[in-house]
């Protein structure tokens, strides 16, 4: 790569960064406050989709219960930072704790399913997701831990030092409402997730996952410890979910088992598949699209009202209809996603190897 290209690349990245930093204010000015919230949620879904992408995209293990890790992270935060158990631990302790607890749950799911593949693995993971939800729903008796279907309320907002994200702050002539402040925290976490994903993809671990995805037996005979690598994939994926869950709980201030349904697992999986399984950029795109599109389709209702004087199709019905149609069309015309994983050619493998040689030499 020559100097001018490098400079352009830098400029492009700086522009993207500035755009992302200005985004909540631009969105608020053009689309309204509701869309800032949607942007926040989209960032959370980016983290979730990237986490699931590690399991499904990198290691090839179909997981239909992924939302369970999101639930674990959310409940971990909610229980230790709310009046429910009268515990109020700081966010900087709870975030890593939530990640660790989720990772443990990832291993709990991974260990008994090591011999399973494909459909069978999907069924077990689906069951796991349901078990977690049902457990959360029923852990209010005999000792009330999760408060059952009523969920947990009054969850502490994020607080870093003395700076509470729930309050409105003014800085440099800009007003930061809670939605804005959370946007920046989520953005930082999403960027870190992207960086971790990219680093993993290009690492020894990433290569081991590719081998397992392609042919597990062959991977084992290459000297790859398939058991540990699969457990690691589950644990890493779960970690992303756990962090996103903790952030979600603090952001919402209220969680209940209803937020962690099978359909949510499927939604995250759709983001991964639709965006481009195994490709970090594609997965990010998938998460943004699938968060924003259903919201955009809400406008269909009022539009019908204005044009035809009445609402013919309920927007929420239409959403699922269009969503289904989009999935079918995708599978027909772009089966590997909108932005498929780059087919690595021999050239750039050797290029990367020489690059690394120079870097290490």
């Amino acid at each position: 790569m020559n100097a001018t290209q490098t400079r352009w690349r830098w400029l492009l990245w700086v522009a993207v960064a500035l755009l992302l930093l200005a985004a909540p204010f631009l969105i608020e000015a053009t689309l309204g406050r509701a869309w800032v919230r949607i942007a926040d949620v989209a960032l959370l879904f980016i983290m979730l989709a990237l986490g699931l992408n590690i399991v499904v995209g990198f290691a090839g293990l179909l997981d239909l219960g992924y939302i369970a890790f999101f639930a674990v992270g959310a409940y971990c935060y909610a229980l230790l930072a709310s009046p429910q158990l009268a515990i109020h631990w700081p966010f900087l302790v709870l975030l890593p704790l939530g990640a660790m607890v989720a990772a443990v749950f990832g291993i709990l799911l991974g260990a008994p399913t090591l011999r399973l593949r494909g459909d069978y693995l999907a069924i077990v993971t689906l069951g796991f997701g349901e078990i977690i939800r049902v457990l959360l729903n029923n852990l209010n008796r005999p000792v009330n831990i999760t408060n059952g279907p009523q969920g947990i309320t009054l969850i502490d907002p994020l607080q870093i030092g003395g700076f509470s994200l729930a309050q409105t702050h003014s800085f440099a002539g800009l007003t930061f409402t809670a939605l804005h402040s959370y946007y920046f925290v989520f953005l930082a976490c999403a960027v870190v997730s992207i960086i971790i994903s990219r680093r993993l993809e290009d690492s020894r671990i990433g290569r081991a996952w590719v081998a397992i995805r392609e042919d597990e037996l062959a991977a084992a005979s290459m000297g790859i410890n398939t058991r540990n690598m699969k457990l690691l994939a589950f644990a890493m994926g779960a970690t992303f979910g756990g962090v996103a869950g903790g952030l979600f709980a603090s952001f919402q201030g209220f969680i209940s088992p209803e937020s962690f349904h099978l359909i949510d697992s499927i939604m995250v999986l759709c983001m991964v598949v639709l965006g481009g399984m195994g490709n970090v950029a594609g997965v990010v795109l998938g998460a943004v699209l699938l968060t924003a599109l259903p919201e955009a389709l809400r406008y269909i209702g009022p539009l019908q009202q204005r044009w035809f004087g009445e609402v013919f199709i309920d927007p929420s019905d239409l959403r699922m209809l269009l969503f289904g149609l989009a999935l079918v069309l995708m599978m027909l015309f772009r089966p590997s996603g909108i932005w498929p994983a780059r087919r690595r050619t021999a050239e750039n493998v050797t290029e990367r190897m020489t690059e690394k040689r120079h870097a290490s030499g």
């Binding site: 290569r207 081998a211 042919d215 037996l217 690595r344």
Partner: protein
């Protein structure tokens, strides 16, 4: 180099291998021949650590390795070319070979290994950027062997290298087996093609329903009436 004592392999209650003894000496090329379902592949899987034997003892390179997992054994120089080749179909030839070097991280030596693979199998060099799934069966077998050699094995286990290949290709594959043997790699190969296997190897074992019924020099086996009748169709 490899000593197997009273090895048994069972799937559930069914014994596929019923207490076999075999040895492979350093630098030897040994064939394990037998009909379908004789227990050859199960034996090989147990030796390479992909299956846990239900009884018996395996020694390799002066230490017991019974039940040790495959990833451990590969690091000790015991590699295997799985049955049905087991190349990574969506990865290119180069990526497949790079995967073979997974346990190594000395870049200069890996580059040398690549060169060696391409010298042994010039065909793979021509197809280096092609996904392995688009190669012909014979080329895939070459790739599987080349990939196993990237681990720098001292003992290579080959599971049915001739399976499902055209006769001309089978000849080619056995030529490369000889070429690899000439490099000083000890080999144990499982084959149904008894004639070619015995012509290539130093010694042979004949397996029938889970037990070894004959063990001798390859030449002696080739001329033994029992083998000629059962496996060479005479």
């Amino acid at each position: 180099m490899l000593t197997v004592h009273k090895l048994e392999v069972a799937y559930g209650g069914i014994k596929a291998v019923k207490g076999i003894d075999l040895t492979v000496g350093r630098g030897e090329v040994v064939a394990l021949i037998g009909a379908n379902g004789a227990g050859k592949s199960s034996t090989l899987k147990a030796l390479s650590g992909l299956l846990k034997p239900s009884a018996g003892r395996i020694d390799y390179d002066g230490a017991e390795i019974t039940g040790k997992p495959a990833y451990h054994l590969v690091r000790r120089g015991l590699a295997m070319v799985p049955e049905g080749r087991g190349v990574f179909p969506r990865l290119t030839v180069v990526e497949n070979l790079a995967m073979g070097a997974y346990i190594h991280d000395d870049k200069a030596a890996i580059t040398r290994d690549f060169d060696r693979a391409y010298t042994l199998f010039p065909r793979l060099a021509e197809r280096r950027a092609q996904p392995a799934g688009t190669l012909s069966g014979g080329e895939q077998q070459m790739l599987a062997m080349a990939r196993a050699l990237m681990c720098r094995p001292r003992l290579l286990l080959l599971d049915e290298p001739s399976m499902g290949l055209a006769p001309l290709m089978v000849q080619k594959i056995f030529e490369t087996v000889r070429a690899v043997a000439a490099e000083g790699v000890t080999m144990l190969l499982v084959e149904q093609n008894a004639k070619l296997a015995l012509e290539t190897c130093d010694r042979g074992y004949v397996m029938e329903s889970g037990v070894i019924v004959l063990a001798d020099n390859a030449k002696t086996l080739l001329s033994s009436p029992q083998v000629r009748q059962a496996y060479l169709g005479e």
